[in-house]
């Protein structure tokens, strides 16, 4: 059935049925690991900021929620296949006489290094902060991109 669909569907790339299964497997793993920690326990690495990493054929995308921070307040660097982000979150200083009812927002320093699954084209890395979400786009190095090889008939 799977083979038929893979060959019948004109939109299915050579890689996609397995990539899709792999994606589902990862999602199931993530869900089950979430269940075992009750979905409220420690995150995967437990380091601030928490990150979501996605990929497409061309690049990796690293996202983190950093409300109140601007791109130029962050220190972002890339080498080979690692990305490091550090900075400090400061909260605005309010009136001394202000009486607090709730104080849930945190301030402080942070620093995190992530290893990506493949080499990065470090010259073309872009970082953008919008609405409190940092997005770092890391184009894959040529050697890390999937390449379709056409078999020649002799």
């Amino acid at each position: 059935m799977l083979l038929r669909r893979a060959s019948d569907g004109p939109m299915w790339g050579w890689r996609s049925p397995f990539a899709e299964l792999e994606r589902m497997r990862r999602q199931m793993d993530w869900l089950s690991s979430g269940l075992s920690r009750g979905l409220v326990g420690e995150s995967a690495a437990g380091v601030f900021p928490m990150m979501n990493v996605t990929e497409d054929k061309e690049a990796y995308f690293v996202r983190a929620e950093l409300p109140g921070l601007k791109a130029d307040e962050l220190d972002i660097s890339v080498t080979g296949d690692t990305l490091s982000i550090s900075g400090e979150r400061k909260l605005s200083v309010e009136d001394e006489k202000a009486q607090y009812h709730r104080r849930e927002r945190d301030a402080g320093r942070f620093s995190r290094i992530v290893s990506l699954p493949a080499q990065i084209n470090t010259d073309k890395v872009e970082a953008r902060c919008a609405d409190g979400i940092l997005t770092v786009t890391l184009p894959k190095a040529e050697s890390a991109k999937p390449r379709q090889i056409v078999a020649k008939s002799s």
């Binding site: 990539a19 994606r23 990862r26 999602q27 993530w30 979905l39 409220v40 326990g41 420690e42 995150s43 995967a44 690495a45 437990g46 380091v47 601030f48 900021p49 928490m50 990150m51 979501n52 990493v53 996605t54 990929e55 497409d56 054929k57 990796y60 995308f61 996202r63 929620e65 950093l66 409300p67 109140g68 921070l69 601007k70 400090e88 979150r89 400061k90 909260l91 309010e94 009136d95 006489k97 202000a98 009486q99 607090y100 009812h101 709730r102 104080r103 849930e104 927002r105 945190d106 301030a107 402080g108 320093r109 942070f110 990506l116 699954p117 902060c129 609405d131 409190g132 979400i133 997005t135």
Partner: protein
């Protein structure tokens, strides 16, 4: 550690809403972290709502109940596949009951870099009124 030295931030899982109100749309809903403080003239609320654009934020004050509702569009592109997912995205929702009377006309909300700053000016203390009791 001295006061001038800032502490290191800890990773925190976002708190999911356990709201008594029924939600009509599917998706996850989180409680934004807030700071609320009060001066003689106003109450200020700061809320961390990363991913919420100014146009997608709903603030409602009705009968002393302040409701914040922020919609978040998934930031991922259509053909991106997950590698690691540590945090989840969804809407934000939180309600507060205000004890002070707020001057509704002068409420000011500002959304900047995912942080909402909401100023709720108190109604100027009404001049004491003497009510004559008629016998």
């Amino acid at each position: 550690m001295t006061d001038s030295e800032s502490k290191a931030l800890q990773a925190k899982e976002k708190a999911e809403v356990t709201t008594p109100a029924e939600l009509t749309r599917p998706g996850l809903v989180f409680t934004p972290a807030v700071d609320i403080f009060e001066t003689d003239s106003e109450i200020t609320l700061l809320a961390d709502m990363p991913g919420v654009k100014a146009g997608e934020l709903n603030i409602d004050l009705h009968k002393n109940v302040l409701t914040l509702e922020g919609d978040v569009q998934a930031p991922e592109g259509a053909d991106e596949a997950d590698v690691i997912r540590e945090y989840r995205t969804g809407k934000y929702y939180r309600q507060f009951t205000l004890s002070q009377i707020i001057d509704q006309e002068k409420i000011n909300a500002e959304m900047k870099d995912g942080v909402l700053r909401l100023s709720l000016p108190k109604v100027k203390a009404a001049t004491p009124r003497r009510i004559a009791v008629q016998s």
